[in-house]
Amino acid sequence: MKTQPIDQFATRLAAEKRQSVYQSTKLTHEKRTAMLAAQFADPDGLRRLAGEIKQHAIENLDTLLPLAEERLKAGGAQVHWAVDAEAACRHVLAIMQRRGATRMVKAKTMVSEEIELAHFLERQGIECLETDLGEFIVQIDHDHPSHIVRPIIHKNRREIATSFEKNGLGAYNDEPAVITRRARTFMRAKYLAADVGLTGANFLVAESGRIVVVTNEGNSRFSLAAPKCHIALVGIEKILPRDRDLAVLLNLLARSATAQQLSVYTEFIHGPRAPGQADGPEEMHVIFVDNGRTEVLAGECREILRCIRCGACMNVCPVYRQASGHAYRAVYPGPVGAVLSPLLAGERFLDLADLPKASSLCGACNEVCPVNIPIPDLLLRLRDQGKRAGAKSPGLPPMGPWALVASSPAVWQAALVGGRLLNVLPHRFIPVPAAQAWVSRRTLPSWRGGEFRRWWRAHQNRKAETGDRKAQA
């Protein structure tokens, strides 16, 4: 029986991996929900407000982006624009080549995953070290992140200890404290030797040209401490109009992402080292990355650009919990990824057109989204777009004939009666794959097509008789 790719992936997923994804996402989701309810009088109102702020921002990029550029330059940063992944990678390379730089330390940024920066730089002979512990483990394992906040949610500590051993980071030891200490020792030397530190931006405020980066490991701060040059890769949708908007967004981001009131490190970066400042990078570059976002903005799913990459939607998603992030075959997994990844795929939209189908449309993602993105509606729009673009849909019964039946009352009523065949036919003989998919896992209740309508007519007759009797009496 042919089922959808993500469904097939879920059946191949090791029970152990499913358990670690399920337990970890469930725990974070429950803590997040309890924390928001305990600390805010109206968490839903806050989510809606944050959604309106971000919606306003993405609808006013035409004025906010030039303003941000002006303020960044006034603060001493250099600003670059990258229309696609390649342009973004080339900007990074050009900056490094101009400085004769060959070593980069890099904080966690999803947009760098999206443009595959690390692979690009390695091909150019540049060392590019991931300094977020999870991303570092992904890097030494030649793996891919499976969650946008917790890239190694699919791994357990035994696997991590094994890859540390294999990579010469010490004899097998799966104590988290030991693993962390070894990574730290290894990275300290790298921070000191690096020429360039690269970060993303959780937010970039237009009115002040201020970049906000949040982490829990402090690695972005280390990445900016020793290197003389800071490059920030910023998706154009990361803009916020005003500094005060951070009050809403920062309050929601950490709570939604990791059930923390605030991330351990929240950095506000306002240009390179100013005269008189003791340290910090002497040069700062901001690369604004479009890479398909303008197209998304022009389309019918633009609300997805509100996303602040907290991962709450994947934590609550029953499909993500069963299938894990790698099932989505894209940088952005889960509900947000099921919308964003096919949209950002551009000409390869059809390759990922099955992702929006990987949802029971339960709406839990919308309910937890800190910027109130109507994810189920967007998934539905993409299903429609996929169908019109000729996407395949394994296992799905054809809807055309069904619509014919369901728009002709006489045929519908005949089908209701005809369906009684199901009560005598052994179910394994029903020649419809969708029906087989149902009955292989569930029983089918007995078919009672037409029974309600029969009752209804008898009921009307009874009422008419009672009415007649009342009239006669």
């Binding site: 469904d7 097939q8 029971s360 069904w402 369901a406 149902w438 569930r442």
Partner: protein, 257 residues
């Protein structure tokens, strides 16, 4: 979820949208809906030309096919009367989904006219008619699964409040109540493995609560969960909320059996 304001009901007459699942499998849930409404003095009309809300094709991404069915239903339910649906999912298709599918269609106003007067049953009882408590008696612990398509609407709380008010009823809590049962319409057959895993998890939580009945406002979730449980050889008895309300009336001698 709700994207439009609904008109308050005028008068004591409604149209019933029975849903395709009641038409094919769950006639008693539709009968109970009629009996509950008539008990409240409401006159029910059943437009016989009705078929399905159009959601299967809508969710499957075949919006052309879906619009064909929605147009038929708009015709079948023409008029001004409130339309009552014993399903939060079909109701949401009428007042939310179909509006998405008709965003760029010239006949959207007609679709919206139907949307504005369509109510899920429990929501209509509590917020349309102002019913606060339910008479009669129903003995036992009920596990109430709030269907996902009632998220963001008043239906779930309305149904829970009505059931809680019935003498003899206890609503039992169960783990991960906000999680989907795994039905999801065509999702249940195109993602059968994930759908089954989700359903089994739900059953585990439900069984731990040891209810006499699983109760829902959508027969679709019940059909999926009940079907999984029966296939496992450990059947779980389930009822639509309309059946609980109707049976409470019967048990209290307020409705002839």
């Amino acid at each position: 979820m709700m994207s439009i304001e609904r008109k308050p009901p005028l008068g004591k007459k409604v149209q019933l949208l029975a849903t395709c699942l009641c038409d094919a499998f769950y006639d008693d849930a539709a009968i109970a809906t009629v009996q509950v409404l008539e008990h409240l003095g409401i006159t029910v009309e059943f437009p016989e030309a009705q078929t399905c809300c159009g959601q299967p094709a809508f969710n499957a991404g075949d919006w052309t096919a879906s619009r064909r069915v929605v147009r038929h239903m708009v015709y079948a339910f023409r008029g001004e009367l409130p339309v009552i649906v014993p399903s939060s999912s079909c109701a949401a298709m009428v007042f939310h989904g179909s509006l998405l599918a008709f965003e760029h269609e010239p006949d959207r106003p007609e679709v919206e006219q139907l949307a504005r007067r369509t109510w899920e049953l429990a929501d209509f009882l509590v917020h349309g008619l102002g019913v606060k408590t339910w008479p009669g008696r129903f003995d036992g612990a009920l596990a109430f699964h709030r269907s996902c398509h009632s998220r963001g609407t008043a239906s779930g709380e309305a149904a829970a409040a009505l059931m809680r008010s019935i003498a003899g009823v206890t609503l039992v809590e169960f783990g991960e109540g906000e999680q989907c049962c795994g039905f999801g319409g065509t999702f249940s057959v195109t993602f059968p493995n994930i759908s089954e895993a989700m359903g089994r998890l739900k059953l585990e939580h439900l069984r731990a609560a040891q209810p006499r009945y699983l109760v829902g406002i959508d027969t679709s979730c019940l059909m999926h969960l009940g079907g999984l449980a029966e296939k496992e050889g450990r059947p779980l008895e389930y009822r639509h909320v309309a059946q609980v309300l109707r049976d409470a009336l019967r048990n209290g001698g307020l409705l002839k059996p």
